[in-house]
Amino acid sequence: MFLLQTTPLPSPAELLPAADHACGGIVAFEGRVRDHHQGRGVTALHYEAYEALALGEGQRILDEARARFVPVRVAAAHRHGTLAPGEAAVVVVAASAHRQEAFAACRWIIDEIKDRLPLWKREHYDDGSCAWVGCGCQGRGEAP
């Protein structure tokens, strides 16, 4: 299941409830908004999304993960709109019989999300200014 929403994200346990007792290893990644960036104070973060493409691409990433890391159960959610520092921007959960597949799938999914999901981050700073981050022009050069 892939979710894209403007409201607070579910917890990993809510996002991927235990369906049975086959999975002994569950790995979750939660990405939260930092209150600082390159020495500047961050007061808020705005994610712009191309919703139709993001929903399809998010689901494709999960489908590819299931084919690549067998057997594994996966789910992910990404938030868009305006977030405050400390809030979760992304949640990924992978569950498998053993820990290796769960760690590998979770890592692969968050890396694909960062590479492919059409969302753009605009940071608002404590001096009143704001900037797109990692969008290929100003501010380029640091990892998103």
Binding site: G31, Y47, E48, A49, Y50, A52, L53, A54, G56, E57, H78, A89, V90, I110, I113, K114, D115, R116, L117, P118, L119, W120, K121, R122, W132, V133, G134, C135, G136, C137, R140, P144
Partner: protein, 79 residues
Amino acid sequence: MKVTVRYFATLRDAAGTASEEVEGDFRTAAALWSHLGERHVFPLGPDDLRVSVNASYAPFTTVLAEGDEIAFIPPVSGG
């Protein structure tokens, strides 16, 4: 041919709009991008962008059809 172009992030700022209908004689996504360059000054070039046709990633060489929704996708920064 008439298509809808969606703009995001830095391209939306440069175009001054989130979407527009564009009519012209362009066959592919690459030709559409060149066409758009005549009306906007964009901060990114084809090497920086991916193409989406009807909400799926597609190559710049994709042949467009009447009514398609095209977006040129700047480097993403989700996660």
